[in-house]
Subunit: 251 residues, 2 copies
């Protein structure tokens, strides 16, 4: 493995071996060479393939595991992370009941209110790295915990990557929506940014959440990214926080 050197620039773009290996493994993940839930080759195999020592491969995998892109399991192998079959379903959902542990309420019920094609507004285009007017899929749904509406969400997706998405599929898929995105469209969300605000719902939103229009609700704007920081989803949610709260840990 040679160094990515001899650039014409002054900045040598010098990169340690293990970061180059990390990039190569990342390429395999992006290209779909290894799919979510599958095992990647053993450290020894990768070391032989890339002509480096096992320790160097290990350091690359360590970082990818720290980023939640890979999961190591001693004695078994290293696996591509997935939103399915993960002990914690809803990996990106931070809403927790005030009483009781994590999700003592069981899985959420979903009501799909809408799912149709539309054209991206200027702001959607900006956030999703599209052009204004590009086709996007728009879905609207309500999540209920313990028979009570808790979340109203609008989801926008680049139509090109999500051909064939339907309300029926969203309603019938058992498990997290992000797991369905992996299974049906090969799109794995690896990271997301959220902006939170306290707002009042409008009349329509209030009705769907079964609250008064003067009940404060938590507005959550999320942009989710797949490999290589490519934005693939815009989500605007309203969370009821009268019986739940948004939990966060700072370190």
């Amino acid at each position: 493995m040679s160094n990515a050197s001899s650039s014409t620039l002054d900045t040598p773009a010098f990169s340690p071996l293990y970061l180059q290996i990390k990039g190569l493994i990342l390429q395999g993940l992006q290209s779909g060479e290894w799919k979510p839930g599958e095992a990647i080759p053993s450290e020894m195999d990768l070391a032989a393939r890339f002509r480096v020592s096992q320790g160097t491969v290990r350091k690359a995998i360590d970082e990818l595991a720290a980023d939640n892109l890979l999961m190591r399991r001693q004695g078994k192998g290293t696996f591509v992370s997935t939103h399915a079959e993960q002990q914690v379903q809803y990996r990106f959902l931070r809403l927790r009941p005030d009483q009781g542990d994590e999700h003592s309420e069981g899985p959420a019920r979903r009501l799909i209110l809408e799912c149709k094609r539309m054209r991206a507004t200027a702001e959607m285009a900006r956030l999703l790295a599209l052009r204004t007017g590009d086709a996007v899929m728009h879905a609207r749904r309500v999540l209920l915990f313990a028979q009570t509406p808790a979340i109203l969400e609008d989801i926008w997706l680049p139509a090109q990557a999500f051909k064939g998405l339907s309300a029926e599929r969203m309603a019938s898929y058992p498990g997290p929506t992000y797991a369905m995105f992996e299974e049906d469209f090969g799109v794995r969300m690896v990271r997301a940014d959220e902006k939170l605000r306290a707002v009042h719902p409008n009349a329509e939103q209030a009705a769907l959440l079964e609250v008064d229009v003067d009940t404060p609700v938590l507005s959550v704007e999320r942009v989710a990214y797949t490999y290589n920081d490519l934005a693939m989803e815009l989500r605007r949610g309203l969370y009821r926080t009268d019986t739940h709260h948004y939990r966060n840990t700072l370190a």
Copy 2:
């Protein structure tokens, strides 16, 4: 370095060497052997002291650095993290202006409204691992960005660890409050949990934030911990989110 073995339990409490080393370094941090901002001994020195190889010390330090307890600086050494002199001031503050980068507004202005001793309520006691009625310090303050009130905060601290805290000191200290806690009281906050809700301010809160009582604001309850998961601060904040938002990243 021997293994922490021969327990009477079935569970061997077996721990890899590097984790034991990590624990020993943590002890040094807790005990104040190395203070925030100072350098700890070099990897070679620590390896000699603990009778292990440099690689084992390195792995222990790697984890402590990943936890933000230590900062590595190539060519210089490894330093104890601090809330002061950190490029990002306000490490635990997630409020960001809607326009402009991080804190284009410059440092916040602080108004200290109150700072006095009181007795812990049952809930404070529970969150701070005290007993109901134990002495706590209570401070109330307003933070202003760009001359506009943005945050109203109540802070409660175990009085025993914060003897001598005064409104004057809080107002005059240049830099983050958490840095003052380190400097004046030797208390370093390493982690915090937050619970967020959308609420309405009461009349007093609304007046202090210069908003109407029917303006939704973001309620942020924070419990901050020092080494060893010891709770040392309860903070209840109200954030205005009309010109700012709470930013979070999920991975």
